[in-house]
């Protein structure tokens, strides 16, 4: 199993957001073989895409991660140094305090690796109904610093959303790295022992299935049934819901698609599976993404492509203004086909 390195450490052109955007605008999209996303929106009377009520502030605490997964759209890894400061976290808290935002969704990298992770959670907790942490699970097993994390997470009633691309080591480790499956199972057992995934505990852990290759996910409910059965029977593990998330052609997954000559077929698959019904629930309508340096984006994927928010809106969390933001036009590009393919895809799984 070849070790995955970040695109940045490989000095790959695709580590630059502008190179990815350029690539996604060329080839089949510039020579007319494939439709442009915004034209398809127009065909379905959905252009420009406008936001609904802001429900979730998704905050990226930094790109550092203890894992280097093959499909990572963040190009996260141990060598990434971008990290959110306490001052920017305070700006996020000020915004949720004064704007009635129900949920904050902490992501990364491994958000727990931000040295101010606990401070942020404790200071934000009184002002939101729900804190989601997108945890890779293995961070709990990474070293002594993180051994107490499960207790802290449970105490703050954090909802965990954790990647487990399959219920066996073979597929999981091929995507996420050698030994990840076993460590994830150990972490899940610890979390189950604290009540996570157990009925009436009030502690929720949802798992995320990302396809381990250049294909779309199977129907979410069907996979969830299978995951629940096998994880219970073979490992005595329980969880709440399974979210199926389509891999978007960004960063390391884009690199994988190109290197394996799957790029065009995959893009056509996304385009031909375009489902206008999924448009109503796309997460950019109800979520706003905050970059590690406080920059605002329509979603985490736009953040990685550095596709900035509507120029008529505030660009940073420090100048947040809900009235201006609710009138913005959502910035889209060809990667958006990933969120509207088949049953649709969002950070909360399928949309229809």
């Amino acid at each position: 199993m070849a070790l995955t390195k970040t695109l940045q450490s490989r000095s790959s052109d695709l580590s630059k957001p502008e190179s990815q955007v350029e690539f996604l605008s060329s080839g089949i999209f510039s020579d007319g073989k494939a439709p442009i996303f915004r034209n398809l929106l127009d065909d379905h009377s959905s252009f420009p895409l406008k936001p609904n009520t802001l429900e979730v502030l998704q905050v990226n605490l930094g790109y550092m991660c203890n894992q280097t997964c093959k499909h990572c759209h963040v190009d996260a890894g141990p060598d990434r140094t971008e990290i959110m400061t306490k001052q920017t976290m305070q700006s996020c808290i000020d915004v949720i305090k004064s704007n009635n935002i129900e949920t904050i969704d902490l992501t990364g990298g491994a958000p727990e690796m931000n040295p101010n992770f606990k401070w942020f959670v404790e200071h934000a907790r009184p002002y939101v109904n729900e804190i989601i942490v997108r945890s890779n699970l293995t961070i709990i097993e990474a070293n002594k610093t993180y051994n107490e994390l499960p207790v802290f997470i449970a105490k703050n009633k954090i909802r965990l959303v954790s990647s487990l691309p399959f219920y066996n080591a073979d597929k999981t480790d091929r995507q996420r790295g050698k030994g990840v499956f076993d460590k994830s199972i150990n972490a899940l057992r610890k979390l189950n022992n604290l009540g996570y995934g157990k009925p009436e505990s009030g502690l929720t852990i949802d798992l995320v299935y990302n396809p381990t290759g250049a294909f779309l996910p199977a129907p979410q409910l069907s996979l969830e049934k299978e995951f629940k059965k096998v994880l219970k029977e073979e490992f005595d593990i329980c969880f709440n819901q399974l979210f199926c998330i389509t891999n978007l052609p960004i960063s390391r997954f884009l690199d994988y698609l190109i290197q394996t000559e799957n790029y065009e077929d995959y893009m056509f698959k996304l385009i031909e599976s375009f489902n206008p019904e999924a448009l109503d629930g796309v997460m950019c309508k109800s979520t706003l993404s905050v970059g590690w340096n406080g920059t605002l984006y329509d979603c985490d994927f736009n953040q990685m492509l550095d596709l900035k928010i509507d120029p008529n809106s505030p660009q940073s969390i420090s100048s947040f203004n809900i009235d201006t933001l609710k009138n913005r036009v959502i910035n889209t590009s060809q990667h958006c086909f990933g969120c509207t393919a088949g049953a649709g895809s969002s950070c909360q799984g399928s949309l229809v």
């Binding site: 350029e22 219920y167 199977a218 996979l223």
Partner: protein, 130 residues
């Protein structure tokens, strides 16, 4: 655009989408399956409705149906179906060993279907030969 980026672009441009007469199976033709309606919409619609209903979850799961379809694809030697149901199997997390076993089941039935006809050959031999 530097050299390695140009190379990436050229990899993606290198794929052929033209009609190539004399080539019997083009993997891209699978994407045109829906176009059979251009010649007979009514029958195509009936076929695709029925096809969709067949693969819905029922007494068998969609996963089980994908594996059956993969085996049958090999028995009828349809390259489009093999592509489609290998991918469908991957979506459901069906592993390589399971896929290969399904192909062996289909092949065993196919081989057995030929071999069992040898009983007819034997009957004929036994009847006609002194």
């Amino acid at each position: 655009m530097n050299r390695s980026f140009r190379m990436l672009v050229s990899i993606s441009k290198n794929r052929k989408f033209n009609i190539r007469m004399g080539v019997y199976y083009e993997s891209n033709d699978l994407r045109k399956f829906g176009k059979i309606a251009d010649y007979d919409k009514e029958l195509a619609d009936k076929f695709f409705d029925w096809y969709g209903a067949v693969f819905e979850e029922g007494a068998l799961t969609a996963r089980e149906k994908a594996l059956i379809a993969l085996g049958v694809s090999h028995a009828v030697q349809c390259p489009y179906c093999i592509d489609a149901y290998t991918e469908e199997s991957l979506k459901f997390g069906i592993n390589k060993e399971q896929m290969m076993e399904a192909v062996h089941v289909a092949s065993a039935i196919r081989g057995g279907a030929s071999l069992v006809h040898s009983v007819q050959m034997m009957n004929k031999v036994n009847k006609q030969e002194m």
